[in-house]
Symmetry: C2
Subunit: 221 residues, 2 copies
DNA sequence: GAAATAGTGTCTTTAAGACAATATCAG
DNA sequence: CTGATATTGTCTTAAAGACACTATTTC
């Protein structure tokens, strides 16, 4: 039952190998909705089309390093903790050849993206407000975005601002509005407070109550 | 800031490509503990060493197909729903060269493994009782087993026997003992019942109470 | 004082933990 | 009947949902 090609002494070089790409969904929250960073493709026949930043894995490079290199070179941002989502391998998803894509996700505060967004080769797309743009992405990137948003929601259901999208210190209102944007649904004010307060560290400070009673300011635990 | 090698017109063939392997942790429950299937390596310099069944991805083959082919050829089993866990890419994890391993996990009832276990090239290893064997696995397979068991526990915390390891129909006692083996800890009898009963379908039948009051028999919802 | 927002209290519902009580089998 | 196991009931505790109330600011 053994495959004869797997006989002892066979070299790895005897087999054809796939190209391996990394594609990253850089997520942020802007104007109350989850947005994903897109770059204009320049290096292939999709020239001019918007897509997730991606690159091919180089020799002796880890996947995480490839992701960081790609974000630096194509979007000018220093991503923080890219996480591997899954490998997409449907045949035909990439018409350039036999390409596996290892999808990643990262969360970056909007302020860290402002410099990159000055380039007209970089833009944000709302995942809730611009469905036609998202579903039209090449190379099956729409699937990656969907997985990434799903992962983001799971992360934000567990802890206060795990992606550090909010500048510190912040009020519980700021935090709740951020979590509502991620969840895409309103969250109960008091239930939210009871869940989050034990996971935050209070500063002694108060917000300047520009409209109404001032609020306590917090930082992530 | 663009990389010159990524200029339009460059071919995928211009870049060196990694070998891509799939390694699968086939899990089952035997004698009250979670076990993983190992095969004796024959095709490389680890000849004779126990390891997870794995193979290299072939051209125009999906990862899932490669996993199924490997399990069929090396262990003689028809795996059911292999799930992708994650890519392991630490340089140096494989001394045969530049190899990425896409780890998978599958759950198979012990009865479906009996035929395969007659071969002396196939064995089970308890993940709790034989740590020295597991941690000694080559190619970083110990990490894969750890991830796989973690995944199994998460799956069994959510639903009754999602891997269909138990023959139907079964009693709630059978189900609880299986879940205790997976969790590696005793589970409260009444809490377990209250959680699982709504997710099961009752047959009219009763077990033959060989010791004590007979129990109702259930099937998965 | 009115409007706005922050912070606290509490009632209800739901689920889990922990037992206790009852039911039904083999011997 | 006794021993063993299954099934049901209930008390307590913890957490969430849903409100209501009080407190502190700006205007």
């Amino acid at each position: 039952m053994k495959d004869s090609k797997n006989s002892p002494g066979a070299s790895l070089l005897d087999y054809p190998r796939p190209s391996v790409a990394v594609d990253t969904a850089v997520l942020t929250v802007a104007d109350g909705s989850v947005c994903v960073l897109l770059v204009r493709r320049e290096e292939d026949h999709q020239h001019g089309k918007w897509a997730l930043p991606g690159t091919f894995l180089r020799e002796r490079e880890t996947l995480a390093d490839a992701v960081l290199r790609c974000l630096r070179d194509k979007a000018g941002i220093s991503g923080r903790v890219p996480r591997q989502l899954q490998v997409f391998d449907e045949p035909g998803r990439d018409d350039r050849g036999w390409v596996l894509s290892v999808a990643h996700v990262d969360m970056v505060p909007l302020t860290d993206l402002e410099e990159a967004l000055k380039s007209n080769g970089v833009r944000l797309a709302s995942t809730t407000g611009e469905p036609e743009l998202i579903v039209g992405l090449p190379y099956g990137h729409a699937d990656i975005v969907a997985k990434a948003v799903e992962w983001l929601r799971a992360a934000y259901a567990e802890a206060p601002d795990p992606g550090a999208l909010l500048d510190e210190p912040f009020t519980l209102r700021d935090l709740r509005e951020l979590h509502e944007a991620v969840a895409g649904a309103p969250l109960m004010r008091d239930t939210f407070r009871r869940f989050m307060e034990p996971k935050l560290a209070g500063t002694g400070q108060m917000s300047d109550g520009t409209r109404g009673r001032p609020s306590r300011l917090w930082v992530r635990g």
